[in-house]
Amino acid sequence: MPLVAVRGVSRIFANGVQALGGATLDIEAGEFLSVLGPSGCGKSTLLRLIAGLASPTAGTIEWSKGEWPGGKPDLGFVFQEPTLMPWATALANVALPLKLHGVARSEREARAAEALDHVGLKGFERTWPRELSGGMKMRVSIARALVTGPKLLLMDEPFAALDEITRHRLNADLLALWERSRITVVFVTHSVFESVFLSQRIAVMAARPGRIVSELKIAAPYPRTEAFRTSADYAAHCRLVSTHLSEAMAAA
């Protein structure tokens, strides 16, 4: 049984637009999975359905009973924008999920400080979001998603708005975090290069209606470093994934 089983899920918006049409996808525990597709193919909608922020019009999303016996699945969500509360410090932003769960102040501040440390922001606890760079804000956002210690991390094109240098650094740091914690990651992106660098597996989506058209394994070993980015192996994988993406776009 996969961690999450998405079975023939469709989603039709109130205005009649069909965002998803029969998407099927297994998410295995501990894997790094990317969902790759052109903009408007329903990737974000799929992620929101998995998070439970919307319900499918048809199809089912099943959660592994072994991992989440009966309870509400715990997961972290990272949006495309950092989505921080401007009136709260970095520490208070990261502590928010714990606060909403009723964790005592001293404990939540200790855990939030630890989460900030894990994303490389030790010493920035009392900083306000406006004083942070785009990359640092995204780190705070990731720390907030991880502070509850979830089994599943959903990321919706989190680095799309960042410059290339910052994106590469965050890619590397995200991989290091994943290798340390082996949390399950579902990473939505429209970048072939980013998905190949990060993932064990890539699900390629086609648009209108949104569906998964192919799944590819990226067999390259971890840890993946900057050397991997310039290797022939990486280039070959990128070419293969690009071909699949072009086919998916032609099929749409």
């Binding site: 969500f77 989505t83 509360m85 401007p86 009136w87 928010l96 606060k99 909403l100 769960h101 406006r130």
Partner: protein, 258 residues
């Protein structure tokens, strides 16, 4: 800082000199247009009568503003919690807002049967709408992703209101408060004019009416100066409050770094 204070100060001084000059050169009698020096002398001479009137007007203004904050803020929160309540009540709030206070003040004075209370109601009616409409706008202008995040962590309406909607609405509320501060003063003055009498004690509007009947035009101007000064002071105090509450995070309170 310096230009912000020096520029209007110099301009004000120039206008006063021009005013004094015109009054002297054209030999305008003080019962038509008193010069600023005469007005200043009257202000000092009549201070014993004008100061208590200022206190009366300011008291009504601040009471009305406090009532506007409580009622406007509460209604905004209720509206944000219940769409039906908003749909059914908001149009009436607009009707109250667009009805000229001068037209309904006599009714209010008759019904309230207490001058102090009716002055307070009039000033409140004028002042509460900007707070209501701004706070509603603020409570609604919440980042949709943040709302999704609160939903994800199982926060109910109240937690979302307290930890997300209220802080997000604060800058809008403070903007409304600054408008309402001035309107409360105008409401208090207009209501006293219509009532044609002070309540238990006379306010500045009544002193202006009285000075008009007695053709003591310099005293009228002195009272006017006090009303303007009170309005400016209220605006500056509310701006300071806004700055203190927002300086850490809101763009409006942050000086651009070059």
């Amino acid at each position: 800082m310096s230009a912000r204070i020096v520029a209007p100060a110099v301009m004000g001084l120039l206008m006063l000199v021009l005013w004094e000059g015109v009054v002297r050169l054209a030999d305008i009698p003080p019962y038509v247009l008193p010069g600023p020096l005469v007005v200043a002398r009257t202000l000092i001479a009549d201070w014993g009568m004008l100061a208590p009137a200022l206190v009366v007007t300011l008291t009504i203004t601040l009471e009305a503003l406090a009532a506007a904050v409580v009622v406007g803020g509460m209604l905004a929160i209720l509206f944000s919690l219940s769409r039906w309540l908003e749909l059914s009540l908001f149009p009436y709030a607009i009707i109250l807002q667009v009805t000229p206070i001068v037209a309904i003040a006599p009714l209010i004075i008759t019904w309230a049967n207490n001058v102090d209370l009716s002055l307070l109601i009039c000033a409140w009616l004028v002042a509460f709408f900007p707070i209501l409409s701004n706070t509603i706008l603020g409570l609604r202008s919440v980042d949709h992703n943040l709302l999704a995040l609160f939903e994800l962590y199982g926060a109910g309406r109240w937690k979302t209101l307290i930890h997300l909607r209220l802080p997000a609405a604060l800058p809008y509320f403070l903007g409304g408060l600054r408008i309402s501060g001035g309107l409360a003063l105008i409401g208090a003055v207009v209501a006293e004019f219509v009532a044609g009498t002070g309540g238990s004690a006379s306010g500045l509007a009544y002193r202006i009416l009285e000075a008009g009947y007695q053709l003591r035009i310099p005293r009228m101007f002195a009272a006017l100066v006090l009303i303007s000064a009170a309005g400016i002071a209220i605006y500056l105090l509310l701006s300071l409050l806004s700055y203190l509450l927002l300086r850490r995070w809101h763009e409006s309170a942050i000086e651009a770094e070059s």
